[in-house]
């Protein structure tokens, strides 16, 4: 195994992305809205396309803002549909995000067909490529690293400042109403931050694996603690550990393992983001087994 500077950047970037994801993720997990992250990560498409249509460029903050607005719109629409039509939450989410995604796809094909959005890149992401685009030619500092760092800091501030309000609105929104801790405002703030995080994490890990960064660490941590603060700290630790192990296994083990299993001659590293997901899943299984053993013992 040869460890390059690039590998360090990959692990550092993925760890920052994971931290940014986990912080809102703990509250999404606890308030039973795990699938919301999946919905948001699809629903950002119309925002990106509208951002592009308004500005006429591909690489502007307008795309970023559009994506965030569309993500929040998905959360708002889901709540609205659930309240008005009385369908279950999952169905409401399914309706809103498939509709938004279809809307985005049609707008892209009809009005912005020249902009090529690679499904492979969006859906699976590519950390190995993302770290190549550095902020300036001289430095090696990847742009994604900076973005993920900012997102992680913002999320950290949010969670620290509004810890009490978030806790109340997560566990008992009705109580939140009675003590004026603004549970609905908290809900929408949380959704906004989730959307921001999803968009940032998008480039690095893709729209589907971002869900694993958001939900898996809190799920693993939930088998080890019942205290909210401990849950958040443990989640962050598990996420960072998962990123390190995931990348190491991706460049050393997974490739040869499967190449051998399927009798292939050539092998090399596999997708890091996916490797992280697999490692987190293994950690979850360990968590489940551990909790079963403790209950028996």
């Amino acid at each position: 195994m040869t460890w390059l500077t690039l590998d360090t950047w990959i692990v550092a970037t993925s760890a920052l992305v994971a931290i940014a994801c986990v912080l809102p993720g703990c509250f999404l997990f606890l308030s039973r809205q795990s699938m919301m992250s999946h919905g948001i990560s699809h629903a950002v498409l119309p925002g990106i396309v509208i951002g592009h249509l308004v500005t006429g460029e591909v690489d502007t903050p307008a795309l970023f803002i559009g994506a965030i607005l569309a993500g929040v719109a998905c959360a708002v629409l889901t709540r609205f549909l659930q309240r008005l039509s009385g369908v279950e939450e999952g169905a409401a989410l399914g309706i809103s995000f498939t509709t938004l995604f279809a809307l985005g796809l049609i707008m892209q094909r009809l009005f912005a067909d020249n902009v090529h959005i690679e499904p492979n890149h969006i859906l699976m992401g590519n950390l190995e490529v993302a770290v190549f685009s550095s902020i300036s030619p001289e430095s090696q500092l990847p742009e994604t690293f900076i973005k993920a760092g900012i997102a992680a800091l913002v999320n950290l501030f949010f969670v620290v400042i509004f810890f009490k309000e978030l806790t109340i609105s997560t566990f008992d929104p009705n109580h939140g109403d009675s003590v004026e801790s603004r549970p609905r405002l908290m809900y929408y703030l949380l959704m906004t931050l989730s959307a921001v995080t999803c968009v940032v994490a998008f480039e690095a890990v893709g729209s589907i694996l971002v869900v694993s960064m958001i939900i898996l660490p809190p799920a693993i941590a939930s088998f080890f603690t019942k205290n909210l603060k401990h849950l958040i700290i443990l989640s962050v630790l598990f996420a960072v550990l998962g990123c390190g192990l995931g990348h190491v296994l991706s460049i050393t083990t997974f490739g040869p393992l499967f190449a051998k299993a399927f009798q292939l001659n050539d092998y090399s590293s596999t997708n890091t983001a996916a490797g992280i997901t697999v490692v987190l899943c293994i950690m979850l299984v360990i968590g489940i087994v551990q909790s079963k053993l403790i209950r028996k013992g």
Binding site: H42, T98, R109, I208, S250, F258, T270, T277, V278, L284
Partner: protein, 451 residues
């Protein structure tokens, strides 16, 4: 020759017919099966299953290229692989929900990304393996509607037929399963077996559909038509029919639009057409539509306000005559049709002047009231009938509450006001039956709490 030629000219070209048959079949199959998923609160399972098939696709490809010499995507291997991993993902979700403290939403998300992540790992092995024909495998889950071939279309047709037959045969059992699982068990109905059968059929439809129309369209078709049907009805059979109809209609409309507008992707336009049906139903649906419910609310509000107004007129005139002329045996309709002063009559109600004007206008339009001079009016014969009816029901309700619900005399009035809006003609009929004897003595009882 000319007739046959003209007919074939009218029909859409062959490849389009194939697409229409395929998507309509798919719409029917998912519409039916989606209902049961929705009833069992498992709507997003189609999403999880769809994503979780990725390792099956990649693994199926790797295995088939390992064991067979001929290059190319072996359809059967990919299909069996997808089926296996789709099934595994469902089992994983059920395991997590049943045996750990993870909730359904988390279990769905974990299963989705876990399997997908594993799939991406396998896929990157495929991509770097240098195997022939490996490119394009990642697009396998994002099928193209427009390039549907005849065999796929017939497969979807078969899936729709199987789904319809199964639903029709096991309607009773499925109904019990969806709404009362415990009851199903006690009745000795095939509960486990049926649940597995339902999941398997849904899985097969999802995976057949996945490869032809793509992941997102499949889940949209599983979720949106049943939700649309639920806005119209509570009845299971009607829900199933409406849902299948919505699925078929949305799929056909979407495919039709995409065939006629260049660059319009078929999958996305089917999703949009179906969700348009949903949003229309959200407005006009008979059971839950927003406008429908608003209209109902408005009608009740109006009737209530009219009744309150008429009752006030009745009470007031009754009081003015000093003797209870209207009541008992000495009831005189003639006296009841005297002119009254509107503002004095309804002084006790704190209605805004707009609301008062609205009520008076609506009563006038209904032919119950006549304005005789500024601020004065009389009841018409019809209005008097309604007023008597309203007063009678009101007083009987009060009597009922005092005699049977043990509510104190001084409180009874406010209770009646509260339940007045739900006092239907049927309830009024029941009340009359209860107080039959009293009504024989007096045509209209007196206000009980003023006695």
């Amino acid at each position: 020759m000319s007739l046959a030629f003209a007919l074939s000219d009218l029909l859409p070209p062959h490849n389009l017919r194939v697409v229409y048959l395929g998507v309509i079949s798919l719409g029917i199959a998912t519409g039916l099966l989606g209902c049961f998923l929705l009833f069992r609160k498992r709507s997003l399972l189609s999403d999880t299953v769809g994503h979780a098939t990725l390792p099956g696709v990649a693994g199926g490809f790797l295995l088939s290229s390992m064991f067979s010499d001929f290059a190319g995507k072996n359809f059967l291997a990919l299909f069996v692989g997808s089926l296996l991993f789709g099934w595994l993902s469902v089992q994983a979700v059920q395991f997590m929900v049943r045996h750990t403290k993870l909730r359904q939403d988390a279990a769905l998300a974990i299963s989705l990304t876990g399997f997908y992540g594993f799939g991406v790992v396998l896929l990157s092995v495929v991509q770097k393996s240098g195997l022939p024909d490996a490119s394009g495998l990642e697009y396998y889950l994002y099928g193209m509607v427009a390039s549907m071939v005849e065999a796929e279309s017939w497969m979807l047709f078969g899936a729709a037929t199987v789904a319809s037959v199964l639903t029709a045969l096991f309607l009773k059992e499925l109904n019990a399963l969806c709404f009362d699982e415990g009851f199903t068990q006690t009745q000795g109905l095939p509960h486990r077996w049926l649940d597995q059968a339902l999941m398997t059929v849904s899985l097969v439809v999802a995976i057949v559909g996945l490869q032809t129309v793509g992941l997102l369209l499949i889940m949209a078709l599983f979720i949106i038509p049943p939700s649309t049907a639920r806005l119209w009805t509570n009845d299971l059979k009607t829900t199933l029919l409406l849902s299948a109809l919505t699925g078929a209609l949305g799929a056909f409309a979407g495919a039709l639009l995409s065939a006629n507008i260049p660059h319009l992707p078929a999958g996305a336009s089917i999703i949009l057409a179906t969700s348009l049906l949903f949003f229309l139903s959200l407005l006009f649906g008979k059971r839950k539509g927003i406008l429908t419910r608003y209209l109902q609310f408005y009608t009740i509000e109006k009737r209530l306000a009219q009744n309150q107004f008429l009752r006030a007129v009745f009470d007031n005139l009754e009081g003015q005559q000093q003797v209870r002329l209207f009541c008992g045996l000495a009831f005189s309709r003639k006296l009841a049709l005297t002119e009254f002063h509107i503002a004095d009559t309804i002084a006790k109600r704190n209605w805004s002047s707009q609301k008062r004007a609205r009520i008076i206008t609506s009563l006038k339009n209904a032919g119950s009231l006549e304005i005789t001079a500024a601020g004065r009016a009389t009841l018409t014969e019809k209005g008097l009938d309604r007023a008597i009816e309203a007063a009678k029901t009101h007083r009987l309700t009060e009597l009922y509450l005092m005699n049977h619900a043990e509510i104190a005399q001084k409180n009874v009035h406010q209770f009646v006001e509260r339940i007045e809006e739900i006092t239907t003609p049927e309830i009024a009929q029941d009340l009359r039956a209860i107080f039959k004897q009293k009504l024989q003595q007096e045509l209209i009882p007196l206000e009980p709490h003023e006695r």
